[in-house]
Symmetry: C2
């Protein structure tokens, strides 16, 4: 890169507000969550993809309108005078950091639709960025797991997507009394809105009000309505609808009468009930509830919508998603039905922590197979070669860089990094054949073995089956 | 996020120039490389960290000077009117996408230096970004593996860092005749430069000329020299030095006489020889060569410098690094010696491909444990529940979404996704107890087992030991 003076003036820096530094134990926890997400995705037949961290800005405005620009981190090349000039003359930057993955996914599907095998089942676990004020559960950079099932318009696809989300929470130790999956169908709210004369842009306004009902005050909701071209009477209707859904939700299972009040018939609710029935047959019925209060704020959903919340409702949503049957086409692809969800790491980690479902962070760090100790100066010079040899055999091996030959002290260091075995090199290393002492750090048992058998002994199964908690 | 109209006008988009879309097989190859990087790092006792994707711009100008700004992607919040106003009035954006990891690492070490155990051995595998024109081996977004050993100033630390880099290449199938590790010591070039009267800013210019000698024409090097405050006679000296190092390199092993010509004594070369001796004892001597032509362009190196190149020299460097004993202090931390390297995925993948060391990309995709087939409509309805049950037991299970009950055709689909087993559900599923047919897709052998034993049978070891190629 560029050159500079050799002399620096010392200066302390901080991470940008709303971003995170992941020290080893912090990252080990994140990797634990990510590896569950990845393994669960793979188990459910999804394949991993990735895209650019920044995209053309208009990929996002195309999907969400120009209002999105203020919520994005804009990106421009420092090399490109034209880009800078465009911004200085009042324009926007040409790129934006990815605020969500769906536009990238839709672009990738559209680009290769003819050659992709159907259905397309993809997942991704990249960083996302939002230019919002950081607060509990909301950062400016966060990890988000995205799962999408494309090319199948049946409730079984919705159910499989939702089952994938639930299975990940199950694998992380959550149970159905801790988190709830709220499921609804956009077609039902759309029918009710149409019956109230709320359509088109106004319907988007209603979605916004529904999505924020209970989060913002009614006063605030009323104040915002102008943004959404709702007349005063429309917003009162929307608020009444939101209040009604809250009442229906509190009243327990849906009846023919409450359905009628909500503006739909049992027939109209058949797809969402079919999705729920599938989830029940998969053993996930107990996690799910039909919830007419869930509509999702995004305009592009066309059918099933769902959100996963901590049971008390105290936190922001853990995940949200639904069916978006028109989106791929709008990105220049064929008409392909699709559904999917996004689950962020921030709210999820907060809930896991609150429920006591995370071990002390250090326990997520990979355990060394061996910690090699030199018991005297004579053998110390041979440590690097022995360690290098074990590492070439794909073993995780540490050593002490201290000059002390106090074996007790060094065993303490081996214990601190949670090594499975300590390998103690002493006078027997000069015997024929050379021998080493192998101490099982869990049982405390110590035995002497030939150096030539060391790698095999370290590789012997430790009695712990490979689990989802793999990490490394 | 923001709301918008429900109706989209279809539009096709492309990824930004110099960035990549990773479809499943593409990402599987990248994950293969990353998982080798990760496992090798862990084996060598390094712990993984991560930092923000964007940092304050001055984190980079602090280390590399204001010239770096034009090589960065600048980032600003769309929400922050002040940031935009600053840019419009001629300033720079407040943030930049990470062009290299070292400044983040130095910032993180400085922030917690007192509490971090020593030595600090960290690695990271994040995305990096450079606002350069894309060309072979150089993209605008790329993955880079960073390995750093902090708190040890001895050649054994340099050797361990270099051994980590070599072991990764070895694990990927490269051998010492394909890639060469070129090692030098900045103190030797600095002494020679001082003897020629080239010091301070001028020395940075000499480093730049040395670093680009053989890459750019001598004419071009001369034309650039003004940038680096070199007088015409200085640049001729620098070019003569670069030519000399090329001659020395071509002439084979270093002699006392060639050392004298290069301006240093055997004593001065002791540390780099000690590093080479360590590498030799670790079994990596055959990969390495002393190369006075390697100085690295970056100003902050203080000792050992090294680069890894494809043996013919045809490609850009695979990796580069060295010792930077003053950098942590310059970021407000304590005086801590350090050395490390960065290895990008782009050049490495090109070389692996050229050497035939990558399998067909599809073979890096995770293999399903089972592909479940319904042989008749009667049992088809039970597929989702059986599949869900196996997945809850942490098995990778696929199913057909087709309506055909042609088992031969469906076995073809099972083969296409490389499933280890096909599970065929037929009339025996209604027997007591229910039974299924299990077909080993590798051997072709088929047997009938009770449904209750299915998960166990799928989990039975397939005879393939866990290897570095883990992937998922």
């Amino acid at each position: 890169m560029a050159e500079s003076s050799q002399k620096f003036q010392a200066k302390k820096f901080q991470a940008p507000k709303g971003t995170r530094d992941f020290y080893p134990a912090d990252l080990a926890v994140r990797r634990h969550i990510e590896s569950v997400w990845r393994q669960v995705s793979i188990n459910h037949g999804f394949e991993e993809i990735d895209g650019p961290t920044f995209e053309h800005l208009d990929l996002y405005t195309h999907k969400s309108g120009p209002g999105i620009v203020s919520e994005l981190f804009q990106v421009m090349s420092g090399k490109d005078a034209e880009q800078l000039a465009a911004i200085r003359s009042g324009g926007a930057a040409p790129y934006a950091l990815r605020p969500e993955f769906t536009p990238t996914l839709a672009r990738m599907v559209a680009a290769r639709a003819p050659e992709l095998p159907r259905p397309i089942k993809w997942f991704a676990i990249p960083s996302h960025f939002r230019a919002e004020s950081p607060q509990r559960g909301r950062l400016r950079e966060f990890m988000q797991w995205n799962v999408d099932f494309i090319g199948d318009d049946s409730p079984r696809a919705d159910a499989e997507v939702i089952a994938t989300a639930i299975n990940s929470m199950e694998a992380l130790g959550l149970v159905s009394s801790m988190v709830r999956v709220h499921i609804f169908d956009r077609r039902l709210s759309e029918a009710k809105a149409a019956a109230m004369g709320i359509e088109g842009e106004k319907y988007i306004g209603l979605l916004w009000i529904m999505d924020n009902f209970g989060k913002l005050s009614e006063e605030r909701l009323r104040a915002e309505f102008n943004k959404h071209q709702l007349r005063s009477e429309d917003i009162e209707k929307a608020l009444a609808y939101a209040q009604l859904t809250a009442r229906v939700r509190a009243a327990g299972p849906l009846t023919t009468e409450t359905a009628r009040e909500l503006g739909f018939t049992v027939e109209m609710a058949a797809p969402v009930h079919e999705t729920l029935r599938h989830l029940d047959s998969m053993g996930y019925g107990g996690w799910c509830e039909f919830d007419p209060g869930i509509v999702r704020g995004l305009a592009y959903y066309t059918g099933t919508v769902f959100e996963i919340h901590e049971a008390s409702g105290a936190e922001r949503a853990i995940a949200g998603g639904g069916r978006y049957d028109n989106l791929i086409e709008s990105f220049g692809g064929p008409k392909l039905p699709a559904c999917g969800f996004g689950m962020g790491d921030v709210v999820l980690a907060n809930i896991l922590k609150d429920k006591g479902l995370l071990k002390p962070p250090e326990e997520y760090l990979p355990r060394p197979d061996a910690f090699v100790i030199a018991a005297n100066d004579d053998v110390a010079a041979r440590v690097p070669a022995i360690v290098a040899d074990l590492r070439r055999q794909n073993l995780h091996v540490r050593q002490s860089y201290k000059t002390t030959r106090n074996v007790g002290k060094l065993l303490g260091d081996a214990g601190k990094c949670r090594a499975r075995y300590a390998v103690i090199l002493g006078a027997e290393l000069n015997a024929t054949p050379p021998r080493v002492a192998l101490k099982d750090m869990d049982s405390g048992e110590q035995r002497e073995i030939p150096l030539s058998e060391l790698a095999g002994a370290l590789r012997a199964p430790a009695g712990i089956p490979p689990s989802l908690e793999g990490g490394g």
